[in-house]
Symmetry: C2
Subunit: 382 residues, 2 copies
């Protein structure tokens, strides 16, 4: 097996962090150890890029510091966790792949996620994320503080566009030169290629449905499938299983689980976006109604309501702002039967997703861990 | 040699376009045939991605059509041209690399360029590019025409941010699965990793110098080095030579040429941005002064002028709008001696750049072609 880690001179040193994290002893049961290891790999990656960035110029290093703070500043590391679960669950620890390199490769998913979030926060004009200012807002604040020339808001956005681009390019580098074997990278080519097109395409679909005022259940379902399910669960599991050298049937079982549980996860999110308790979710009640999101829940309600009630819901979504207006829209959706329909679909997807795990190629330990993760994802209040 | 082209099922068919373009007979003398071949490869790539995009949803296919029109709608294909020159000039045609696959790999540079231009046009708030509306503007126009919901301007920008991201992700795919051997991709890993960080970092530096009102010749020089020279000439040549399996001395010669000629090219651009004839350049006279660009020319003039004249130039750049004000600023720069200094630097860089070509590993035909390209790049009026 050949590894590319060492060919890149100053760019990627490939220093092994195994000694500090005991990566080679991690099993599927240690999924909770994954975030810590991922953060070590990400910090190390930024450290390694430091000299190349400083060579371009100190102002660039200052900009990249915003990206680094964002990447290391929180997040549940869900995608690397599923990637690792796919690898270990398909028997990867019994192969000659270096487990620490696999964890490094999976950490790159957090850089794709950084690009997605930094750019989404510009698109949604969001001021905060994880309780901190979004990247474009924190750069804007620096512009004001340093009394720089030009428009501070535009400067924040422009810098954040470029920092998102950098995160996307770096995700490729971190994935490709993680130390995973070339054979494993070749096996994982299809999910890697698919995943990136799916998440960006899913996000394009999402904003276009808002722009079109779409009422299609099918199209809302596709946003869930590509933007959430494929990108968050199905493809990370697929990547891990492919790196482990899993057979087609095992990969297909992981993907079936990921697709079903991923869609159920998003449907739960949609319910919380309308009926969630603000004291628990941390978001205002009915946030999705205020923002005019074209969710499956919303489209299903329109299908079920009579003409007048549908017209009222349609007119209110994306325009209503008062708490009593929002509460009225939520009541319309609940009264339509859409909430029950979506709850039933979550139950059915959870059952079919878990049924996929009854496959000989998936270890019992992995089945147990993925069952726990599925329950957490689909049966939650925040 | 193993190639990855065929592993990706529906994503990349790897159909050989050689039959239609006679790629295997192309020599360095046929550099003018490169753009046509590059466009065929790009069109084929978009065709191959069609089914995956339509599977996400028809609205996504409509959005991607804007990207496709932009990528195929013009451009001199400078980067693939230099990439091919590096490959052929280092003896690549005598290796077992498939020349058509190499041209496909080099075509991916146009997708990186698409991301850079689409995002730069958002950053610069540009309405037109190559005589057509910019991508964010053409999406905005479609939003208005179809009477969509929400703010048309924001919708254009948001869609264009995502289309740029897609172009960047696709550049990786097109490069990686072009059919070039894994050995060649491994040899080319360092310039590939370097180039993408350099162009994004160079652009970050550029906007930060404007925000800081920088007057540093050194920092302006670094923008030229990383954003223009490395990305446009040095790294494409490096990629081509690495794919061909060139030795370190040959690569170093190509890189020396690329760095010097690339910087000279940008310095010529800076002179045209202040003194260019609008009837020839197609841009308003003194465009760089109006926009407040922090060029080497501007920083050099500030160094050379006495205190009062420097203050006048400093105050006018980025704020003056009237033709007579712009003409006065241009006269200040000319009077300072900065124009002559920059002309002298262009001559010296052109000479040192060409001197790098006197290296045994570079073919005579390549030397001739690169000399012609250097003259065109550094001695032009538009």
């Amino acid at each position: 097996m050949r590894r590319l880690t060492r060919v890149l001179g100053g760019y990627i040193s490939g220093t092994d962090v195994r000694s500090s994290v005991a990566g080679h002893e991690l099993g599927i049961g240690d999924l909770d150890a994954v975030p810590g290891i991922v953060e070590k790999h990400l910090a190390q990656f930024f450290d390694e890029r430091g000299p190349a960035i400083s060579a371009i110029g100190e102002p660039v290093a200052e900009a990249v510091a915003h990206l680094r703070a964002f990447v290391l500043g929180g997040g549940k590391r869900v995608r690397p966790r599923y990637g690792w679960a796919g690898f270990v669950g398909a028997g990867g620890l019994a192969t000659s792949e270096d487990p620490d390199a696999v964890l490094r490769a999976m950490s790159s998913l957090e850089l794709i996620q950084a690009c997605a979030l930094v750019h989404d926060d510009i698109i949604d004009a969001s001021d905060t994320r994880r309780g901190n200012p979004t990247v474009h807002r924190s750069v804007e604040a620096q512009h004001r503080k340093q009394d720089m020339l030009g428009d501070a808001t535009a400067y924040g956005i422009n810098t954040a566009i470029l920092l998102g681009d950098l995160a996307l390019a770096w995700a490729e580098d971190m994935w490709r030169y993680s130390g995973v074997s070339l054979e494993a990278l070749t096996r994982a080519a299809e999910p890697w290629v698919g995943m990136r097109t799916e998440v960006i395409g899913g996000q394009l679909l999402d904003i276009s449905l808002e722009g079109r005022g779409s009422e299609s259940v099918d199209l809302a379902d596709r946003v869930n499938r590509f933007k959430t399910a494929a990108y968050t669960i199905e493809r990370p599991l697929h990547l891990g299983a492919a790196v482990a050298g899993a057979d087609d049937a095992t990969i297909s079982a992981f993907r079936g689980y990921g697709r079903d549980i991923g869609i159920a996860f998003q449907l739960r999110d949609d319910l919380l976006g309308v009926f969630g308790d603000p004291a628990i979710t941390g978001k205002p009640a009915g946030d999705d109604l205020r923002e005019g999101k074209r969710t499956v829940l919303f489209a299903t309600a329109l299908e079920l309501l009579d003409r007048d009630a549908a017209a009222e819901l349609r007119a209110g979504v994306g325009t209503a702002t008062e708490p009593e207006e929002i509460a009225r829209l939520a009541a319309l959706i609940r009264g339509s039967g859409a909430e029950d329909a979506v709850e039933a679909r979550i139950s059915s997807l959870t059952a079919s997703g878990l049924a996929h795990l009854d496959h000989a190629g998936i270890s019992d330990e992995a089945k147990h861990a993925l069952t726990v993760m599925a329950r957490k994802a689909t049966d939650r209040r925040m």
